[in-house]
């Protein structure tokens, strides 16, 4: 292409820009047709709830509908923040999230390193298969398993306590132990599965490094400390940031199944409270305000986490 023809060509495209756009859309008409059901689905089932969320700023009356109900500004948010349960709900939510992260993550890293280091390859595959399993079971099944271990009647743990002369403990209904039940049962269920990312990171570390260490006569612990841990540190940081971004997600399904009235004070989280107030007590606007509050904080946290991850590791979460 010569210099002389180039500008005239550009001019031509400029003039027919709109036409070109329609043309390129027309060429893809089948693709839009294909995507149409999903886009309509998003409009109804993902943006419909966003539309309904306006009742957080209204006094919703089912008879008046979402649009007809009167605006009240931030009334419900104020009610929530000034209420006596506000501190309890936030505290429980954060305790569960943080404890699961702080206790669960190191354990998952240790398990991943142990699996990576062992020479018994068949045994390793077997252990992997077994520790992934609980991840795929629902919390209802986990509840059944926990009853068999923790029930005061003949739960395994209480049988052991009785054998040593102690009194059986109603773990699931006692406010002293309920939090531990939630935290440890989540770790029991999910730790195996979370080893998978660390194991993948360990396997991607260059074998040359390990060979060099072997030549230098490094002990196993030195090898882990100086090669394995630094090698998976970016993944650990990334997972931690992601989990901190989701700190208000304390595990609704788990707590919904496990909790009961005696442990509400130590077990109730934002999501379970929203369910009870909204669905069971018909406080639709107040419950929506709390859900909205949680959503906004979650959005901010995840954007901050993503920004930090980007600057730390030149990697983004999404």
């Amino acid at each position: 292409m010569t210099l002389k023809t180039l500008p005239s060509k550009l001019l031509l495209t400029d003039r027919f820009n709109l036409k070109n756009m329609f043309l390129s859309i027309w060429r893809k008409r089948w693709l839009y047709f294909l995507m149409a059901p999903t886009l309509i689905y998003f409009l109804i089932f993902k943006y419909g709830p966003l539309w309904n969320a306006q009742i957080a700023f209204k006094d919703f009356k089912p008879l008046l509908g979402v649009i007809g109900s009167p605006w009240v500004g931030f009334k419900h948010f104020e009610t929530f923040i000034n209420s006596f349960y506000f501190a309890d709900l936030i505290r429980n939510t954060i305790i569960f999230s943080l404890a699961k992260l702080v206790l669960g993550l190191p354990l998952a890293v240790v398990c991943a390193i142990a699996l990576h280091e062992t020479w018994l390859l068949r045994f390793r595959t077997f252990v992997q298969t077994m520790i992934y399993l609980p991840h795929f079971l629902s919390w209802v099944i986990m509840f059944g398993v926990l009853l068999v271990i923790l029930s005061p009647g003949n739960g395994l743990l209480n049988e052991i306590i009785k054998r040593f002369g102690g009194d059986p403990i109603p773990f699931l209904t006692s406010p002293d132990s309920f939090r531990w039940v939630v935290i440890l049962s989540d770790i029991w269920k999910e730790t195996g599965w979370s080893t998978i990312l660390y194991l993948a990171a360990l396997l991607s570390i260059s074998p040359d490094l390990y060979e060099a260490a072997a030549v230098d006569g490094a002990t196993p612990l030195q090898r882990i400390w100086h090669i394995s841990i630094p090698g998976i540190l970016p993944v650990i940081v990334l997972v931690t940031l992601l989990r901190l971004g989701h700190i208000l997600e304390a595990g609704f399904n788990q707590i919904f199944v496990l909790y009961s009235v005696p442990v509400y004070s130590v077990g109730d989280i934002l999501d379970t409270w929203v369910y009870r107030q909204g669905v069971l007590n018909f406080q639709f606007s107040l419950a929506t305000a709390v859900g909205f509050f949680k959503g906004v904080i979650g959005l901010v946290l995840i954007l901050v986490a993503n920004r930090v991850a980007k600057s730390l590791a030149q990697q983004s979460i999404y």
Partner: protein, 292 residues
């Protein structure tokens, strides 16, 4: 990895083996306890409680007979199968076109659609607005109430999109030059090459729907419609127990055995497809986790 069998290394290996065995036992002992509790005969249970080991000759299938003998349990199992199959089919039907569209780089409006989709992933106003939408649409006592709100997972869409992006562009172009439209390209070129990702994402959805118990509790009032996990939960918390199983003073198995047997019956389908789940989930999770 290079294995040098120094004394240190061997001691370390023994330590590792002990550690991994402990981890294994912590995972397995609770399941073992469930199995023993489910199969224990009533007379042993009433006299000795639940032993750690059970004599191989003294197993009892009474709890299973009692549960499966009542019409409700098989019914709930069937309901679970319907929800899982229908849910997975609808989910894939909605997810595949979106993922394919978003993987087409020169699609006008792609950025806008991507932003709208991602926003719903990052911000959620919680349960109540969805609840009002579903009840407003009169979907209570309808499986669509359980299936539709979570039908498209943005995460799954992104994983599938990155798979489609990895397919060679020349394949699609060749078909387009031959006069195929996008529908034909997707159906004849893309989908046959995408079996692994379809299986992976299909399993993600299937496991989700099989395990789902909260939305059925929320939206289904009729006992006939309940899926297995809801029935199991009611048995475990001993709520409205007699609707599902004959249990009285003359029962031939204990309440604990019935609960444990219920847990096992609900677990079995998952165990049967577990080999596939493990293989494809592992792949899918790594694609989603590492690629970004």
């Amino acid at each position: 990895m290079l294995h040098t069998k120094t004394r240190d290394a061997v001691i370390f290996q023994v330590g590792l083996a002990i550690f991994l065995t402990l981890v294994l036992l912590i995972i397995l002992i609770p399941f073992w306890r469930v199995i023993v509790t489910a199969f224990i005969p009533l007379d042993i249970y009433t006299h000795e409680g639940v032993p750690f080991f059970l004599s191989p000759t003294k197993w009892s299938f009474e709890a299973f007979k009692q549960l499966l003998g009542h019409s409700m349990f098989p019914r709930a199992a069937w309901n679970s199968v319907v929800i899982t199959l229908l849910g997975t089919a609808i989910s894939l039907f909605l997810t595949v076109p979106l993922a394919y569209g978003l993987s087409t780089r020169n699609l006008p409006g792609r950025k806008l659609i991507m932003t709208l989709v991602l926003f719903t992933y990052l911000f959620s106003p919680g349960l109540i607005p969805v609840y009002l939408l579903i009840t407003g649409m009169k979907l209570t006592n309808n499986y669509l109430a359980i299936i539709l709100p979570p039908a498209v997972s943005v995460y799954n869409t992104l994983v599938m999109m990155s798979f489609f992006e990895g397919l060679p562009e020349e394949l699609k172009d060749a078909a387009r030059i031959d006069g195929a439209n996008e529908l034909q390209v997707l159906w004849h070129i893309i989908l046959p090459l995408s079996k692994p990702i379809l299986l992976t994402i299909g399993l993600f959805y299937a496991v989700y729907f099989w395990n789902e118990f909260f939305t059925p509790i929320l939206y289904l009032n009729e006992t006939n419609l309940m899926p297995l996990p809801v029935l199991l939960r009611n048995i475990l918390i001993s709520a409205s127990f007699n609707e599902y199983v004959e249990y009285n003073a003359f029962s031939s198995s204990s309440l604990e055995s019935l609960k444990a047997a219920g847990v096992l019956i609900t677990m079995i389908p998952m165990l049967l497809i577990y080999p596939w789940i493990q293989r494809y989930f592992t792949k899918g999770t790594l694609v989603g986790g590492v690629k970004e």
